[in-house]
Each structure stands twice: as C-alpha cells, then as structure tokens.
Subunit: 320 residues, 2 copies
C-alpha cells in the first residue's frame, strides 16, 4: 500500500478532501503534517511526500517520489541530496503563473508610471507635477524564460497592446501565440538592444547563472526596465545597481536575490529606482494557486500508482 | 480666415507639425503659446482654442469653439463661463483610456497583492511572511462608468480572467464585448453586493455627486476593493475612510478628491489601506496620449472648418 505524507500548512479544508479522495482512489494511505517532526511512526517508511520535505528527502530510503509544491526546486538538485538516489522529483510549475504574472504587471506599471515617487511626493506635500510616464502600450517586451510564468505574463501583457513580445528560451521553441517571435538563449544579445522591458523567469541552473552580465545590461537601451521573478543567481547584482544609479536602466523590480533574505548591508537597498519584494511573487496564497497545485499532485498520484510516467517530473539534468 | 490658439506646453515637435498641417489644410492661421498671457495682438479675436484656456473662454467674445485636451471638463460647465454663450465645447475623452487603464490595473494589483506592505516590511528587516493575497483572476468587477476609460480598462482586465465584468452607465447600454452584462445606474445597488472590485470613472455632474454613499459602500462585500479615477465628488470620503479603517473595504485607491490638492489635514492621509495619488492617472505624458489627443483635435478642426458637427462635442446638459 502506498503511504503518502502531505504538508498541509497552506491547504484549506477542500484541498485536504481532494487529496484524501485521490488517495482513496488508488488505495493509498495519507497523513497530513505541519512540520517534518510530526510524522507518525507508521509513516516513517512512506514512499511519497507532497511538500518541501528536506529532512525526509535526505533520510528516508523508502522515498520513491517527492512532489514539491514549488516551481523552483534547485535546492533538491544538489548531488546526493536524496537518501534514495532513485527518488523521483516533480515540481508544481504551472500553478504559479497567474500569481507571478500579476506581480510582474504590477511592478512594471509601478515603475513605468512612477507611482511610488508620486506617492512619496504627495505625502510630503508636493502635489502632482506631471512626470514623464512610460507605458506597456507600444513597448518592446522580451521574456527570458517562456515556461508557465512567461506564457501567463505574455497573455496578460498582450492586452496592453505592446509593440511586440519576444520569447527567449533554451530550445527557442514555444508555440504560444502571445510570442511574436521565439529566440534561443544564444541569440539573447541580438534582442537586448531592442528591449524596453526584460522579464526574467528562468530556473536556477548552471546555464542561467549570471546570464544577465554587465555587458548584457549595457546592451539594453537607455530608459529600459528589468523584472526578475526567477532566481537571483541570474543577474550580476552589482552591475545592475550601477546601471540603475547611472539611469541607464530606468527601473528594476527584483523579487529574488543571490542571498535571501537580502542582507541589511546590501547596497541594493539604497538604489531608489529598484523595487525590492521579499520573494512573494509566487506565494501559495491565491485560491487559484492552491487549487492548481493540489490538482497537479492528485493527477500525478494517479500516474504514480499506475506506474505511468509523472507528468510534472523534473529532469534532474536540465534542472527544471 | 480661422484663427487658432494652441497651448503647446505638453506638445512635442511632431505634434506642432501635425497641427500646422491640419491648419494649413483648412486655410487657418495658428499661434502656439505657453500661457494665456502670451497671445499675440492679432490673435485676440481668435475663433478656436485648443487648451484649457479659462481666461480666454471667459473674455473672448470671438471664441466659437474651445477644445479641451482634458477628458473631465466640469470646470467649463459653470453657467455663464463662456464670454460667448454660443461657444462650442469639445473634450479629449478617448485619449486617456490607455494611461488611466494602466493606472487602475497597477493600483488594483498593488492593493490585492499587498505590495506596499511587503516593501515596507522588507526595508524594516521583516522578510517575506506569506500574506494572503487576492487576484484579479476569478474576481467580480463592476465598472461604474463605461466610457473610454471603463472600456479600455475592461479590455486589459479581461486578460486576467476575472469571473465577470459588469458595466454600469446612465443608459445601461454599451456594446463592448468586454462587459458581460450592462446595467443602468438605477440598478447599481443590486450589483454592489456581488462586486469584489469597483472601478469608478464617472464624469463630475450633479447626478454623479456622492453617488457612492455610505449605504452603498456598506452594500459591498467584506474584503472588496474600490478604485476612483473619475471625480472626487462621486464618493462620500468620510464613509470610505471609516469602511477602510474597519476593514470592511480591504483597500481603495483614489486619484481624485473632493478638494485637490488633498489638504494636509485630511484624515485620508492616515488610512493605511488607502493608496493616494495626486491626480496623475491621466497625465498627458505618454506619447500615445498626446498623439491621440492631437489627432482628435485635428479631426474636429476639419469638421469645424467645413461646418460639420464636432465629433468630440460635449453635451453641456449631460456634462460629458
């Protein structure tokens, strides 16, 4: 009989019920816990975990499948991380697109419309000078990363009538009609000079580390914008801070950083045209996100129980 | 020969050229000024003004048409305002939809995603507790006002997959497919209890004054949101402040107020879940806005010169 451990902290009653029903369909037993200490004795040989169970992954030799409710799973990819080297890993990329796309649009418009500046001035008694604002309309957007996040963002951004949306990915392939053109990552340098807004949603892998170098930041036009919701490792943070302070980049919004929490002594805190958020773009708080996350686990639970390939399996070599 | 006075402060070189060409096509003379003091002697019998020329409107008996670059023209509607009571008034509603729609989406998402709170916490060393966020996805939106602003907002909001978008207008008619249902203003009370986000873009008229009363605010569900980009006169500001402080309304974003600039002693400054912007949603700074604004004036200049009705004429009785 399959034994499943589920972390239920973020779940609502209806989600617990969804999982119980899915487990009963495949004749599995399931226990719900709030922390890794709370596993009952008779689940210490569990074969499945749904949750970011770092200790369980590193100690349970019985574990055959770990489903992370996160999209980014780079922490699990350290060689030797799993006590059972054969343990399969799936992620929940596909449930965060809606939340993160809304974050990207919000931050982009806040920057382009100088909303924080307006508000700061207003509370200090300076009322409404007409500042030069920018717009998504007629802007040239490049999405570096065309997974669920990039595609969901593009579907929202399209309604704002940008001049174009270019997708850039490892394969250079994506059949989503919201991308006017698809390019391979090797072609990135050719599109940066024609990018008013760069949206980065790359996974944390050796290939994406420091992909946005100082040289590439300088290829972007003066007055352009950058949003990163993927991994902080993708950007040369010092070079970005410099480009922002010089005004070459008009604004940037970072939800992810090389070191998180961002250390108090980081110079990024003192860059006025940088919007910092504490890795909250993909919170698991929207009902839509939790619904989708649980649905995806339940779908793969059925695959697992029937010895079919997992649909949301992570390719440990690619890293996503 | 038609004589035209144009306020050129917000215009770029290409717009001056567009107006010069349009004037030359109808054999008109045009002078460009930066302030009402700057009118040359031989234009003091001008028949047309493109600009918010309050003094000229009140003193030039020669004036036959004033084209305001604004959408809201309530200031011009005071009886006896024009020295020539027959002077026609047109506005530039239609050029601000893009800018104001982006403002509405930005403010809505900032509120729903608790972005200002996250940022304030982060700079104070509190890093990323998972706060309950809300989403445009699956939300019920009511647009009170379905002119250019309401429609342009609805076309953007639609891409975020709300549960529905209801339009409410005086006539109850609007054939824009982005509204699932159209209601008359008299039916407003029936839809407020089913509204998660109320977007107000009404003109300032006697009918819209204090339309959002305390009773109507209380009809909205607990946890709902309000954005107002029309006129401050439309809302009972004291009742809104109270509903925000009680948490009945989760957040509001006001770009317009009963008194502007908002007085320093206003209690609105002390409402934490209220986003205040200093009437900047419809700045004339986006290139798109200026292009459209000038195009509309040039189109009506041709109408005027050929004794055809003005397309963007204001109905002084309706007030828009």
């Amino acid at each position: 009989m399959i034994k499943i451990i589920v972390f239920s902290t973020a779940l609502k009653e209806q989600h617990v019920k969804m999982i119980e029903e899915a487990a009963s369909r495949v004749n599995a037993r399931v226990c719900f816990i709030n922390s890794e200490d709370g596993v009952p004795e008779d689940f210490k040989d569990a074969d499945v975990v749904y949750g970011n169970a770092f200790t369980i992954a590193g100690t349970y030799k019985s574990l055959r499948w770990l489903c992370s409710p996160n999209a980014g799973i780079d922490k699990f990819l350290v060689p030797g991380f799993f006590a059972n080297p054969e343990c399969m890993l799936s992620n929940s990329s596909g449930s965060y697109g809606v939340s993160i796309a809304e974050h990207i649009i919000a931050q982009t418009l806040m920057m382009m419309r100088k909303i924080t500046l307006c508000y700061k001035e207003a509370i200090n008694g300076i009322w409404g000078p007409q500042r030069q604002q920018d717009s998504i309309k007629d802007s040239r957007i490049t999405c570096l990363g065309t997974g669920d996040i990039g595609r969901t963002f593009a579907s929202r951004a399209r309604a704002f009538q940008p001049r174009n949306i270019i997708g850039v990915s490892r394969s250079g392939k994506c059949d989503d009609p919201n991308f006017d053109t698809m390019l391979k990552i090797e072609e990135l340098d050719s599109i940066l000079p024609e990018t008013d807004l760069l949206v980065m949603s790359l996974p944390g892998t050796p290939e994406t580390e420091n992909i946005l170098t100082k040289a590439r930041i300088n290829l972007m036009p003066k007055g352009s914008y950058i949003v990163n919701v993927g991994r902080g490792s993708a950007i040369d943070e010092d070079a970005l801070a410099e480009a922002l302070l010089e005004g070459h980049i008009a604004g940037a919004a970072l939800d992810v950083f090389k070191v998180e929490p961002l250390p108090k002594e980081s110079k990024l805190w003192n860059v006025p045209n940088l919007l910092i958020t504490p890795h909250v773009a993909g919170n698991m708080t929207l009902l839509h996100t939790i619904n989708r996350n649980v649905e995806m686990f339940c779908e793969d639970l059925e695959n697992y129980a029937n010895n079919r390939p997992l649909r949301y399996m992570v390719d440990k070599n690619k890293g996503y």
